[in-house]
C-alpha cells in the first residue's frame, strides 16, 4: 500500500512539473494563437541562471528563483519582439513555429558555451533527507514542487479570470482588431502574456532543478512532454494543463511499475492520439471556430 502511495506521490510531482510548463503554453496560446517551442529551453535557462545565482554569489534559493524570474522576463521580451510579433505580421504559421524552434536551438547552444555541457546537481533548499510519513518516503523538494506549482497556477488562473487583464486577454483572443478598436492595447496584452509564460518556465526550472540535474539539455524532453500535456488538457485551458500533467505523470510511473519500464511513455502518447482523434481541442478545450 505504501508503495502505491509512494508511486502516486512521485507521479504527482512529475505531473505538476509538466503542468507548469503546459500552463505557460496556454497563457500565450490564448492571446497570440502561437506555441513557444522554446519553452523547455526557457526552463533550462531559468535553472542555469538560478544555479549561477546560488552557487556563484552564494545567495539563498529564493534569490535563485528571483534571478530566474528576471531572466524569464528578458526571454519573454526577446521571444515576443524578436520572434513572434514579426512572424504574426507576416501572417504565416510556419514563420513563428520556425522562429521559436530556432530560438530554442540558439539558447541551448549558448548555454553550452556559457555553462558547459555537464549535468550538475542543484542543492535542494530543504535538504536531501527524505521525510517519512507512514512508511512513505518523500523528498521535501517533491512536496515543494507540488505546492508551489499549485499555488502559482491557482493565482494565475484567478488573475486571468478576475482581473481587467484577463478580460483583455479574452477580448484579444476573440478578435484582435475589435479589441484594438475598443481601446485595448493589444501589443501590451501580448507582451505581458509572453512575459508571464516565460517567467513561469524559468521559475519552473529552479523548482525542478534539485530533482532533475541541471544541464543545457535538461529542458528538451520536459518541453516536449509538456506540449503533449497541453494538447491533452486543451491549449486554452489552465485547468486542462493540470489535469493533463497529472494524467501523464501518473501514467508514466504506474506503467513503469506495474507493466514494464520500457513502456513508460506509451499510455501518455496513446492518450494523446486518442484525444486528437476524438476531441482535438483537448479535454477542457473549447472548440475553436475560425471564421475565414
Amino acid at each position: 500500500m505504501s508503495d502505491l502511495v509512494q508511486l502516486l506521490l512521485s507521479g504527482v510531482a512529475l505531473g505538476m512539473i509538466y503542468a507548469l510548463l503546459a500552463f505557460g503554453y496556454s497563457v500565450t496560446f490564448s492571446t497570440s494563437r502561437t506555441i513557444n517551442f522554446a519553452q523547455g529551453e526557457f526552463l533550462m535557462i531559468g535553472a542555469l541562471v538560478g544555479l549561477t545565482v546560488e552557487s556563484r554569489f552564494h545567495l539563498p534559493y529564493v534569490a535563485a528563483a528571483l534571478g530566474a524570474a528576471v531572466a524569464g522576463i528578458g526571454l519573454g521580451l526577446l521571444l515576443e519582439y524578436g520572434a513572434i510579433r514579426r512572424a504574426l505580421r507576416t501572417g504565416s504559421t510556419a514563420t513563428w513555429i520556425l522562429a521559436t524552434v530556432a530560438l530554442g536551438i540558439i539558447l541551448r547552444n549558448a548555454a553550452e558555451r556559457i555553462w558547459g555541457t555537464d549535468d550538475r546537481p542543484f542543492p535542494a533548499p530543504l535538504g536531501d533527507t527524505p521525510l517519512i510519513v507512514g512508511g512513505v518516503r518523500v523528498l521535501p523538494q517533491e512536496l515543494l514542487v507540488i505546492l508551489v506549482a499549485a499555488v502559482i497556477m491557482a493565482l494565475l488562473e484567478l488573475f486571468r479570470r478576475r482581473s481587467a487583464y484577463g478580460k483583455a486577454v479574452t477580448a484579444v483572443a476573440a478578435d484582435r482588431d475589435a479589441a484594438s478598436l475598443m481601446g485595448i492595447n493589444v501589443n501590451a496584452v501580448m507582451t505581458l502574456s509572453f512575459i508571464i509564460s516565460s517567467v513561469l518556465a524559468a521559475v519552473a526550472g529552479v523548482l525542478v532543478a534539485p530533482l532533475t540535474l541541471v544541464s543545457p539539455t535538461m529542458g528538451t524532453l520536459l518541453g516536449t512532454k509538456a506540449y503533449a500535456v497541453a494538447i491533452i488538457g486543451g491549449l486554452q485551458s489552465g485547468l486542462g494543463g493540470v489535469v493533463g500533467g497529472l494524467l501523464i505523470g501518473l501514467s508514466e510511473q504506474l506503467t513503469a511499475r506495474y507493466i514494464s519500464t520500457g513502456f513508460k511513455d506509451t499510455p501518455g502518447f496513446v492518450l494523446l492520439i486518442l484525444i486528437l482523434l476524438v476531441k482535438p481541442s483537448g479535454l477542457f478545450g473549447k472548440r475553436s471556430i475560425r471564421k475565414v
Binding site: 549535468d119 550538475r120 523528498l139 540535474l213 535538461m218 524532453l221
Partner: protein
C-alpha cells in the same frame, strides 16, 4: 599459442595485407605533407562529455609529448577533432568526414557504443586503423568473423570483462543470489544488460527484475520499487553518469540500502557530483584510478594532465588514461611500420616489438593478429566511490610480463581482482 605458430600467422596476415594494399590503395593518405593527421571523435557535449573531453585531453597530452620529441617519422602529429554529440547518425557523419575529406591516417575514439557501431565500417573499408579508446560495448574481436582483415582495435575494458566483474562482485565476493538489473535503453545499456544476464546465467542465477530507463530520466522510483519488491539484494546497473546518479539518489530516497554495482561510468565526475553522499560505496570496474596511480608512468601522466589542464580531479580518469595510451600506441606502431600506410600500421600494431609503459599498464605485445583487445581482466580492478573521489588499488605492476592473449586469460583473471579487493 606458441611462438612459431604466432610468427607464421603474422607472416600470413602480413602477406594478406600486402595483397590487400596492392589491390586497394585508399588508406593512409594522412601521412602526406609535413604532418600526420589523426582523427579523434567523441562526445564533447552532453551527458557523455566528461568521458569525451577527458579522452580528447588525454590524446592531446600524448600528441604534445610525441611532437615535443620530434614527432613520428619526422612529422608532427596533427589531431583532427570532431564532436559526435553521442548520437549514432552524427558519429557516422563525422567518421566519413575524417576518412574521406580529412584523409586521416588513423582514428581514435569514440565513447558511445551506438556511435562505434554506426561508424566502424568506414575506417574498415578505407583500411585505416581505428583504436577504440573508451566504448566498452563496440564489437572488436567479434568483427574478425566477417572482416578477417580487421582494422578495429580497443584499449578499454570490454563489456564482457565488465559484466563478468560486476556479477562476480555481487555473486562471488558478496555471496548474493538475488540481484536486479537496471540499464539504460541505449545500445550501451542494453548490450551491458545482455552480457550481465549471460554472466549471471553461467552461475545459474536469473535476475529477479530487469528494469530499463531512458537518458534524462529523473525519477527511478518505479524501477527501484520493483527491484525491492522482488527482494533484490543488490542493484547492478549499466548507464552513464547522470542517470546512475538518479538511481543512487532514488535508492536513498526510498531507503533502499543494498549495494549498487555499476558499469565503469560511475567513476565519471557527473555521477560523483550529482550523487554526492548517495554515491558513497558504489563500485565499478576501472582500468585506471587517479588516486591509486602507483607506477611512475601513471603518476607522471596524472601530474602532467593536472598541470596542462589546471584540474585536480580528472573528470573521467579512465577515459583520459585510455585516450593517452591509445595515442602513444598508435605513434609507436607508425614508427615501427616506418610509414602511415594503414595496412602497415595495422600490422605493426598487431606485432609491437617494444613494450610500452603507459598510464594504465606496461603493455607487451598488446595486440596480436587475432586479438585486438589490449585490456584483459587482469588490468581491471573494482574501484569504489568515496567522498567525491574514486578509491581503489591497482594491481602492482609486473614489468616485462606479457599481456596474455585471449587463450590464456581465464586462469589469472579470476584471482587478480579478487586479490585486489581484499587486501
Amino acid at each position: 599459442m606458441n611462438g612459431a605458430s604466432r610468427t607464421g600467422l603474422t607472416a600470413l596476415a602480413l602477406a594478406g595485407i600486402a595483397l590487400g594494399a596492392a589491390a586497394c590503395n585508399k588508406g593512409g593518405d594522412g601521412g602526406s605533407g609535413d604532418v600526420i593527421k589523426v582523427g579523434v571523435y567523441g562526445p564533447f557535449t552532453g551527458g557523455s562529455s566528461p568521458m569525451g573531453a577527458s579522452m580528447r585531453d588525454g590524446v592531446r597530452l600524448a600528441a604534445e609529448e610525441i611532437n615535443a620529441k620530434g614527432g613520428v617519422l619526422g612529422k608532427k602529429i596533427q589531431l583532427v577533432e570532431r564532436d559526435d554529440q553521442a548520437t549514432n547518425e552524427r558519429g557516422a557523419q563525422v567518421m566519413q568526414d575524417l576518412v574521406s575529406n580529412e584523409k586521416v591516417a588513423a582514428v581514435l575514439g569514440p565513447i558511445n557504443t551506438g556511435v562505434a557501431l554506426a561508424s566502424y565500417k568506414y575506417p574498415m573499408q578505407a583500411k585505416i586503423p581505428l583504436i577504440i579508446n573508451v566504448s566498452a560495448g563496440a564489437p572488436v574481436n567479434e568483427l574478425f568473423k566477417d572482416n578477417p582483415d580487421n582494422y578495429v582495435f580497443r584499449i578499454a575494458a570490454s563489456d564482457n570483462i565488465q559484466a563478468q566483474m560486476i556479477v562476480n562482485e555481487a555473486v562471488q565476493t558478496r555471496g548474493l543470489k538475488k540481484v536486479a538489473l537496471l540499464c539504460d535503453d541505449t545500445n550501451y545499456g542494453q548490450n551491458g544488460c545482455k552480457k550481465m544476464t549471460e554472466a549471471l546465467a553461467a552461475k545459474g542465477i536469473t535476475p529477479v527484475s530487469v528494469g530499463k530507463f531512458k537518458l534524462k530520466d529523473t525519477d527511478m522510483t518505479p524501477q527501484l520499487q520493483e527491484a525491492r519488491a522482488k527482494g533484490a539484494q543488490a542493484v547492478l546497473t549499466y548507464g552513464i553518469g547522470p542517470e546512475l546518479a538518479q538511481i543512487a539518489n532514488g535508492m536513498n530516497k526510498l531507503g533502499y540500502q543494498v549495494p549498487m554495482i555499476a558499469s565503469w561510468t560511475a567513476s565519471m565526475s557527473n555521477f560523483i557530483d550529482a550523487a554526492a553522499a548517495n554515491g558513497n560505496g558504489v563500485q565499478m570496474p576501472q582500468t585506471f584510478i587517479q588516486d591509486a596511480a602507483l607506477r611512475p608512468e601513471a603518476k607522471a601522466f596524472v601530474q602532467n594532465f593536472q598541470k596542462k589542464y589546471s584540474v585536480d580531479r580528472i573528470p573521467s580518469a579512465v577515459s583520459a588514461a585510455q585516450g593517452y595510451d591509445s595515442m602513444h600506441l598508435l605513434a609507436m606502431a607508425m614508427a615501427q611500420a616506418g610509414t602511415t600506410d594503414g595496412p602497415k600500421v595495422k600490422a605493426a600494431l598487431e606485432n609491437l616489438t617494444t613494450p610500452y609503459s603507459g598510464a594504465i599498464a606496461t603493455f607487451t605485445k598488446p595486440y596480436t593478429p587475432t586479438d585486438h583487445e589490449a585490456i584483459h581482466q587482469e588490468q581491471v580492478v573494482m574501484g569504489v566511490v568515496h567522498d567525491g573521489r574514486v578509491a581503489g588499488s591497482l594491481p602492482a605492476p609486473t614489468p616485462g610480463r606479457a599481456v596474455p592473449s585471449l587463450s590464456d586469460t581465464a586462469a589469472p583473471a579470476a584471482t587478480a581482482p579478487a586479490a585486489a579487493k581484499k587486501p
